[in-house]
Symmetry: C2
Subunit: 298 residues, 2 copies
């Protein structure tokens, strides 16, 4: 039988594996680990890499926390009280080179003492400059993972990502999306083992997918204008995470570990009043493609 | 009789007056104006100054908008429908020199077709480095304004500011606070004219108070460490505005004019994982004083 301990152990190994592969590809940066305990129960291992050769700032966090279920979740589920257990891996990486995309991944498992359980997760890519071949490669990787498990997954979870990673007040998607899913459990017609196998494959695709972009793009030439644009795009990343990301908001409101939650923020972000890219520029091209519903594969 | 047009006109003049005085003290920077219209009714004049001698990025915005009352307000007031009118001036200034504080001011008036009306507003100061004499000067200015109108105002509105300008997930106040008040109307025992007179005095104290800090501190020496700290503090400013500030959140959620709302964001902000100032440093001293309930005057 698949227990919460099995799942947490696997996530812990995933963290180890991803950190090792990122360090190898970066060749300079090393993750520093912070172990922390949650006052209400459980804890985590935050790992942060700064000033690598390719990665400027990145975090790969594992946590497994437990205790009394937060009021907000109880209310949503019409429950009076229950204990919960939640474990997962969260990643955000900000590269130096503006032609290497920002990436985010999260895989998570949640269960309660009343027997309710679910998996959630997603991967999405935020290129500072959209390259259509890169975008197609990225979505193909995700589609392959999805198709191995359910022929409906990719379309459904790709749309979910478009809707989730959306900066409503800018009418822009955060990047080229990816996949997003939540509350996946037996109601989907699949067993816990089957869903976990899918989540494992999502986790396993992260390192090969991102190290591909790291290796391929990290020594592309860039100039000051590209860096200025990168910093503005990082500003948008901050706006999404602090204004719209449900996970971030929930964590900050329920007294989560602030430094682990906000490891997603870039080393530096800029804001310029009413910035408008020059007509016909690469920047304008990228902005035009920050829309929902684009089929990146075909 | 005091009409909404009178109030809006006065706010417009306040914007003119403050912009003129800031430009004079800055001596280099000039405000650029953007006039905009709100699809649902009304509009505004956004004014932004960048790369002044003293001010790095700042906005002084006026707006007077009207139309159908947003659902969120109707619900809070248990109303089915009503038209609204809202006018105000909002200011945030980010200086170059880390020894010049960030400042924010807002004065606003709201009324509905059912006769409900109120004033709100506040001023708060966010020094990158707290100087106790400056903090005392600032709070004395505000206390003087308050005392002219009601001997209870300063204590009440100072506490309100401590509670409002609070970065809950950091357990830090945004800065040294100031005053904050909302929904001030006839229920407070004062007439519309009396409350407007108070709001006018709050507005009028802005320019002399901030130009005092600009003149006094803009040529103090600073080094790279001070700039690094300033950028981290600006990161906290971003966190407050995007995660906790009710005005910002309300604006972004109800399709307000994004560029005017987010003019409050700094030109540049940095994040560093788990940054801890050196023991005994000026930075640590400042952090220790970012607490509620400090009596800055005595």
């Amino acid at each position: 039988m698949l227990t919460k301990e099995n799942i947490a152990d696997w996530f812990k190994q995933l963290q180890d594996d991803i950190c090792q592969k990122l360090e190898k590809t970066d060749s300079v940066g090393k993750f520093k680990q912070d172990e922390w305990e949650r006052p209400g129960g459980g804890g985590g291992r935050s790992r942060v890499l700064t000033e690598g050769k390719i990665i400027e700032k990145g975090g790969v966090n594992f946590s497994a926390v437990e205790g009394k279920t937060p009021e907000k979740i109880l209310k949503a589920l019409h429950l009076d009280s229950a204990d919960f257990f939640a474990t997962g891996v969260s990643i955000v990486l900000h590269p130096h080179n503006p032609f290497v995309p920002i990436i985010h991944m999260n895989v998570r498992y949640f269960e309660m003492s009343n027997g309710v359980w679910w998996f959630g997760g997603g991967i999405d890519l935020t290129p500072h400059y959209i390259d259509e071949d890169d975008a197609s490669f990225f979505h193909k990787q995700l589609k392959n993972v999805c198709d191995k498990h359910d022929s409906d997954y990719y379309d459904k979870f790709k749309k979910w990502a478009d809707d989730y990673f959306y900066i409503k007040h800018r009418k822009e998607t955060r990047g080229i999306g990816g996949i997003f899913f939540d509350r996946l459990n037996q109601d989907s017609g699949k067993s816990k083992e089957e869903i976990f196998a899918f989540v494992q494959d999502v986790g396993k695709t992260f390192a090969p997918t991102y190290t591909h972009f790291m290796s391929k793009n990290h020594d592309l030439d860039y100039n000051e204008d590209n860096i200025a644009w990168q910093k503005l795009r990082r500003g948008r990343y901050v706006e999404f995470n602090l204004v719209w990301d449900k996970g971030t908001k929930f964590g900050l409101e329920t007294d989560g570990r602030t430094e682990s939650i906000l490891m997603s923020l870039p080393p530096q972000a800029n804001w310029e009043y009413d910035h408008t890219p020059i007509e016909g520029s690469q920047e304008e091209e990228t902005l035009k493609q920050l829309k929902k519903g684009i089929d990146w594969i075909n």
